[in-house]
């Protein structure tokens, strides 16, 4: 995973790839798996959350592989800039700092202006609910979902595919911003949008700087690990 990076997919095929992965993975596969395991989709137990997430990710990977073969070079790792270098380890402190420092600083003025809308417990609700439903070995399963699975698949989709395609069309700055907005808006809670936009900018910044997603994956993993640790404490 250290070969050359190929140019990203063109924007139109990249958007089609995302739409197909989103519809097939998140709208069809996820709810179908939830029905199959007899889970309440609005209040998933940890093992059900893992099953639903894994089904969506599996579909996303299949769609990404297909897109690479159809519109890219067929080299999955190169088409989505999946490479790691030692310097990518900088993603770990960057992700942790984003969680511990940048997110609270971002929300502070919002909480002064709109204390009810941006109450800390509203922002933290989804993280807290995930943690509240996990105990024992399920904490390990939850950690695998949020610290390993989500960072890898989401960085492939949002940075390796979408952001790089957006950057090739709009330029680095606008492409980074557009990709980060996209990343924030796909999450379910609007109160999380500012924090996730900031997180997307941090993760995507590594792609702008290095033209690979290794640092972004590590930053995303560290961001989620720090959030999980705080929610568990």
């Amino acid at each position: 995973m250290s070969g050359p990076t190929h140019p990203p997919l063109r924007l139109a095929p990249a958007v089609v790839t995302w739409v197909v992965a989103w519809v097939a993975g998140m709208i069809l596969a996820g709810p179908l798996v939830a029905v199959a395991v007899d889970a309440d989709f609005d209040s998933l137990a940890t093992q059900d959350l893992a099953a639903v997430a894994a089904s969506g990710w599996a579909v996303s990977i299949v769609v990404l592989v297909f897109a690479s073969r159809r519109w890219g070079t067929g080299d999955f790792w190169a088409d989505y800039a999946v490479r790691f270098r030692p310097s990518d380890v900088l993603g770990i402190p960057a992700g942790a700092l984003a969680q511990f420092v940048a997110v609270p600083l971002l929300y502070w003025p919002l909480q002064q202006l709109w204390p009810d809308t941006f109450a800390s417990d509203e922002i933290e609700r989804r993280a807290q609910e995930m943690v509240d439903r996990a105990d024992g070995w399920l904490v390990v399963l939850l950690a695998l979902v949020v610290v390993v699975g989500a960072p890898v698949v989401e960085e492939l989709m949002y940075r390796g595919l979408l952001q790089r395609s957006l950057m090739s069309r709009l330029g680095p700055a606008l492409g980074l911003f557009a990709g980060s907005v996209w990343f924030a808006l796909v999450h379910p809670q609007p109160v999380e949008y500012p924090g996730l936009l900031l997180a997307g900018l941090v993760f995507g910044g590594f792609v702008v700087a290095t033209d690979r997603i290794g640092g972004a994956i590590l930053a995303h993993a560290a961001f989620n690990a720090a959030g999980l640790a705080m929610a568990l404490s």
């Binding site: 997110v103 609270p104 800390s120 993280a127 995930m130 949020v146 995303h220």
Partner: protein, 58 residues
């Protein structure tokens, strides 16, 4: 911290300690406020300014 509530909304609010006394608000120490359990069906909204906010990007 200061606790207020509204029966009609089945809602409890926890805020930073109020600067002025109010007969409809109840000042609590952190230890007791953090262990507060609302009546069944009620919700607690903690509006105290937390220095940290846990956010998970999933």
């Amino acid at each position: 911290m200061t606790l207020t509530y509204q029966y009609s909304l089945a809602q409890v609010w926890l805020d930073e300690l109020a600067a002025e006394r109010d007969p409809h608000a109840y000042d609590l120490c952190s230890r007791h406020g953090n262990r507060l359990t609302p009546p069944q069906g009620w919700q607690v909204r903690d509006r105290r300014r937390s220095p940290a906010i846990d956010l998970i990007a999933v």
